[in-house]
Assembly symmetry: C3
Homo-oligomer: 154 residues x 3
């Protein structure tokens, strides 16, 4: 089985998931955007429309870091990667996210996860699709979220 678990590919893909968190929380929108394909689709909805493309994601994350989130802490775990081909994979992770907003002492909490699609472009794995799901939130800046219980059916 050693071959088909593709450990090196799996490691590279899990690092995309982890770096997304690190770059978000350290406010490096350029490094974060570089983890995605140019045509990536990012769905933080359903209250907001999906973000289409790496450039729009960079702008949105930069704006959030400057105007909404004084500090954040994104903790993912349970990373699961499933290969569809040599150049396609998808996966899931669980997520806890901590949010300190500018001008407020309230902390926003989110318990949920991400569903990912990955694509190999020029010999490098990238995130081509990211969708956020919630099991629940507390004092969070959004009230309607994709239901984590349905993450495998989406």
């Amino acid at each position: 089985m050693a071959d088909d678990v593709r450990l090196a590919d799996r490691n590279e893909i899990e690092l995309l998931m982890k770096r997304y968190c690190l770059y978000f929380d350290t406010k490096h929108p350029d490094s974060l955007a570089a983890l995605f394909t140019t045509d990536a689709r990012i769905d933080y909805g359903p209250e907001v429309e999906p973000i289409l493309g790496r450039d729009k994601l960079r702008t949105m994350v930069a704006n959030g870091a400057a105007t909404r989130f004084e500090s954040t802490n994104h903790q993912i775990c349970n990373e699961i990667v499933i290969f569809e081909s040599d150049e396609r994979a998808h996966g899931t992770s669980h997520l806890y996210a901590w949010h300190k907003y500018f001008g407020s002492d309230v902390i926003g909490h989110l318990w949920g996860g991400y569903r990912y699609q990955f694509r190999k472009v020029d010999d490098e794995w990238l995130i081509s699709d990211l969708k956020l799901f919630a099991s629940g939130t507390e004092d969070f800046h959004r009230s309607q979220m994709h239901d984590f219980r349905k993450i495998l059916e989406s």
Copy 2:
């Protein structure tokens, strides 16, 4: 050392730990039960008796999903796997678990971990023993738990 770390086996075993969380939280008791040996022992006690066998686990998890837990979110980390032989391993993880109960707005929190035993059956690793430990809880539906500080001595 590359040989004896058994990276492919380790990856397969860690996926058992992660899929347990994913299938619990997405309410897939059949998929969850299939991660265990037919004779697995699952100890969520000491307030409740250990569950003996994959079939009883499936029933209990299905009942919990239908009648007690409206939504859950199980986050494991610090996965450690130690091989005893080609077909036996044991390990630990830390755990944070979030529980939304039916008919209540109270959220139950648990900080702790799992102790696992694994067995290779027909060339596939499975969980043969699972024991839940807690460091602490808040608004949780159980008051007495195995003490996480003793997880290495159990």
Copy 3:
């Protein structure tokens, strides 16, 4: 790329991060200290001075386990390891840490991360430098912490 991801080394190093948590929370200061080089530098500041050396770390952790922390639960994730040479690496993780203090029912929470340096000594990877960062805390026993948003610049 399979070669330069060094999966076996990466696994060995990630186990250092994970065992630090497990040994802290199960109160095994000797096992915890053995994860570090004899001359390791551990910075839990800036309110306290860095700890210099494995022996001082062992003493401090043992004292904390005996007099301050009745129970703790350290959950790391987003483990990232970057190799500098065959014998040097550095990395980061995110962290949530739960603290129950002796003589109090208050729980101290910390959301943040660690920055690590690793060194291979006698064919074994060890932690040579550990620095704790926080995004935020609640009821924690320290008020000033290194800023997690700066973890990549330190």
